[in-house]
Symmetry: C2
Subunit: 513 residues, 2 copies
């Protein structure tokens, strides 16, 4: 069976079930249903504070086959997932599905649990490091399910992803379960990805190392969603949670790309009052933000909002008055955390509000300009940010597909050649984001505009920016590197790539060693 992008996908996948094929980025809208939720109502006088994770597991009655969830705001500093899994593993529990919004190298202990069948399923929007490698080797019993940051809340709200227990790493919590991420040793700022877990899981456990007296204001996750509170010594290592600084690239190629990208943004006509903007925290992406900042100053433009994972660079733009507001689903550095704590213009948003295609309009729908990365791009503009050149999983959509679908100008910025390999292929190893939602690819050698964006081609036609078709750009790269050999893949499916609407856009197969 092939989906609309020509990706070969079985109609039934063992450990996943019946496949709903991707039909196009905007084909699956209309009336959608959020499922009901069971709530254990709490009487006056009842308490929620427990002594340990073990106590919580006892109270809830952890069982084989349960799905347990985690949020990833503590990133590579997270202790919560490992500590909870340690407590579960000790009990001889099997067949756990880990629904973590992202998985990082710090979660390496999962590999052992995968090998011995304690963990048999993973649902995540992004994974890198040993767990991703283990999944790529086919060690996980069921194929991993790769979602997007907007697709995950959609799946949870619709009931496609049922969570038995949500464990919420809480930088600050009170005894009755109010949570915020702005105070405490592990302060990470916005808790946007955890909101939906709290709202929809059968049971919700707050795990905190900063238990404060009631109430833990400002409240990001309310007591009305939390069953139990557990105090632990530490929920994470601050050094891994927020980087002290995120840095603009100093690489001249990256800076050149950023200059071209900003010129394109200018020529697109979007740089005017009300401009909305999002970029990742990569060096080249930040360089675009820096160039755009200068352009906005020059033109005296006041943007409406900057969104996404937020860095100090974006905070500076807010503070300078270049944007009226920030929408923050996740803080990438300490400056962002501090701004989120203090500045009412720095608005938090849930993962659902950020990118869920099946609510009444996510923030991504209002994005003008989105700066995206890519591991591979193909001649149909499909982008891979899930697997590396060896076919091994080293990322995932995160918000890639969500923002690409929403933004008026979804722009991939990338070196044309990375690690002596051309970025543009006839066909990407894995489709993460469909080409129909990518408007333009910007490289140091020139740009390629998606042919469906005739308006943009027209706007750029008189510029001095080298403009090519995507095939020409591909051939240019191949002239320099030679045509790379295709990676050989087995038939074994190790991961399913779900588009944000829950349809299957691709599968990841195990590379042949």
């Amino acid at each position: 069976m092939k989906n609309v992008l020509g990706r070969e996908i079985p109609d039934y996948i063992e450990g996943y079930g019946k496949v709903e094929l991707f039909k196009g980025a905007f084909k699956n809208y209309g009336l959608k249903e959020k499922i009901g939720v069971k709530v254990n109502s709490v009487k006056p006088g009842e308490e929620k504070l427990l002594d340990s994770i073990d106590d919580a597991l006892n109270k809830i009655g952890i069982k084989d086959g349960m799905t347990i969830s985690f949020h990833h705001h503590l990133r590579n500093g997270d202790f919560v997932l490992n500590n909870v899994m340690h407590a579960i593993a000790k009990r001889g529990i099997k067949d756990i599905v880990i629904a973590a919004s992202s998985i990082f190298p710090v979660h390496e202990p999962l590999v052992e649990y995968i090998k011995n069948g304690i963990v048999t399923g993973i649902v995540t929007n992004y994974m890198s490091g040993p767990v991703a490698e283990a999944v790529s080797k086919g060690l996980l019993k069921k194929p991993a399910i790769m979602m997007t940051h907007g697709g995950r809340p959609r799946a949870i709200e619709s009931g496609d992803l049922h969570i038995d227990i949500a464990f919420i790493g809480a930088p600050t919590a009170d005894t009755y379960g109010n949570i915020n991420g702005v105070y405490g040793n592990a302060a990470c700022g916005s808790l946007g990805y955890a909101t939906v877990d709290a709202e929809y899981a059968d049971k919700v456990v707050a795990i905190t190392d900063n238990l404060v007296t009631y109430p833990a204001c400002p409240i990001e996750i309310s007591q009305i969603y939390v069953d139990y509170v557990v105090k632990v010594d530490s929920i994470g290592n601050p050094a891994g949670i927020v980087s002290g600084t995120t840095k603009i690239t100093k690489d001249p190629v990256g800076l050149k790309i950023a200059k071209i990208a900003t010129k394109v943004i200018e020529l697109s006509g979007l740089v005017k009052d009300g401009l909305s903007f999002q970029t990742g925290a990569g060096g080249t992406s930040l360089a675009v933000a820096e160039e755009l900042k200068n352009l906005m100053r020059e033109k005296s433009v006041v943007g409406s909002f900057a969104a996404g994972g937020i860095t100090g660079y974006i905070v500076e733009m807010l503070e300078e008055g270049l944007f009226r507001n920030i929408f923050d689903v996740q803080c990438f550095d300490l400056k962002a955390v501090e701004s989120y704590r203090h500045n009412p213009k720095h608005q938090g948003m849930s993962g659902s509000m950020y990118g869920n295609p099946h609510n009444k309009g996510a923030v991504v729908n209002n994005l003008d300009v989105m700066i995206l990365g890519a591991t591979e791009i193909d001649i149909d503009f499909n982008v891979n940010v899930t697997t590396g050149s060896s076919g091994v999983i080293m990322g995932g959509s995160g918000g890639h597909s969500d923002t690409a679908a929403g933004a008026k100008l979804a722009m991939v910025v990338t070196n044309l050649i990375k690690g002596r390999l051309p970025i543009i292929k006839d066909s990407v190893t894995t489709v993460t984001t469909p080409g129909e939602s990518i408007d333009i690819v910007v490289t140091e050698w020139g740009i390629a505009v998606n042919p469906k964006r005739k308006d943009l081609i027209e706007k750029l036609s008189s510029s001095s920016i080298p403009t090519m078709t995507i095939k020409e750009l591909k051939e240019l790269a191949e002239k320099m590197t030679g045509k790379p050999e295709a990676i050989e893949m087995s038939d074994e499916i190790v991961a399913i790539v779900e588009y944000r609407d829950g349809t299957v856009i691709d599968v990841v197969r195990k590379p042949v060693d």
Copy 2:
């Protein structure tokens, strides 16, 4: 059929259905279910702004028999309910059920719609003025359903109260449906009661007179819940929305009651760090706040939170550091609105978080001291704040039953005699709040402690406060006024009084003229 309080209630009521009898304030807890919600998902590029209320009614397809909802933060200054009903009435639509969190004298036009069958049902937590009088006269086809501020979100979340269209008066909104109550001509502060309507109604329409460019931060109600936005000239009259000032009573009797009440609070042992407190905006209740303020200063006590409908007096206590936080479901005056806008310690809460008995613990569960009013109290400590001495509806629970159930010390403060009638009766005309959740009655002549609070009787035993049984207090009043004649009631049920858990605690019958 009689419920546990001995109130005579049919097991089936025409226009209401099968009756679930009240069994006790804490009998109906355990696993509860929130229902699913249908959502019309919004694609990038789709817009929400409509030209008029009529346009919204067209888009949605308003039909006979629909339930439409309103919030009451604009109180007696509200134009939204009347304007929407005017547009509906013009269409010849019949059989509308109005689910308004409260109904005020300004909503008098409803009386005509009740008379001609355009409106045949009312669900509300409080009503006063012409509509309440019309309901009392039996003009409404179906009995009105009187809920509580916590019971309403419970009913909506559980599906007991299904809302077809929620109309949300929005002091500020952007074109994509983000709403806040802190800016605009009709700024009313917290929009706590509207939250659940936005989350659960089939369709949600924001009606605003202050349409701002996207995004309308700080966001109280998110774009993900709003289908349409309508710009109108005015959503309300600020003079009726917030009173410039709420005033402490100058009546010596009220001041005396406040002094006794505060002494009781002190002797209860609750005046210590972490104290939590709520009071209404009545003159005597505010006088208690004033006395308590002095006591807290004197004892250098820092309370945890003050909750509820918030007045400037409570804001002053926050600003002075007497409380660490405020939980605000509704602002009563301009000072409260301003504080809510600027002070991060002034935390908003939804009606569900405030008082819903069937979530994982409402804020009322954490109240130490609650100061309550009463129209009548009976010798079982049952309180009536629903009907007046003539049997006519002139109020309703609001948060009365919710806070009484939650607070450690639920205290009724009242003159023993009002309008030459004794407040304490053998049996109240209508039970709003069950006696088991009332701990003490404080009058200018003395206090009566609920016999189940042996601990409190013990603590007060050595004080000089005149302490009586509730019967003694009743007899004392009757000595002064004579025993009032009972109001004669017909059999016709004009309203159902639901306790916060959805069971029927009483019915209101039509008084005999």
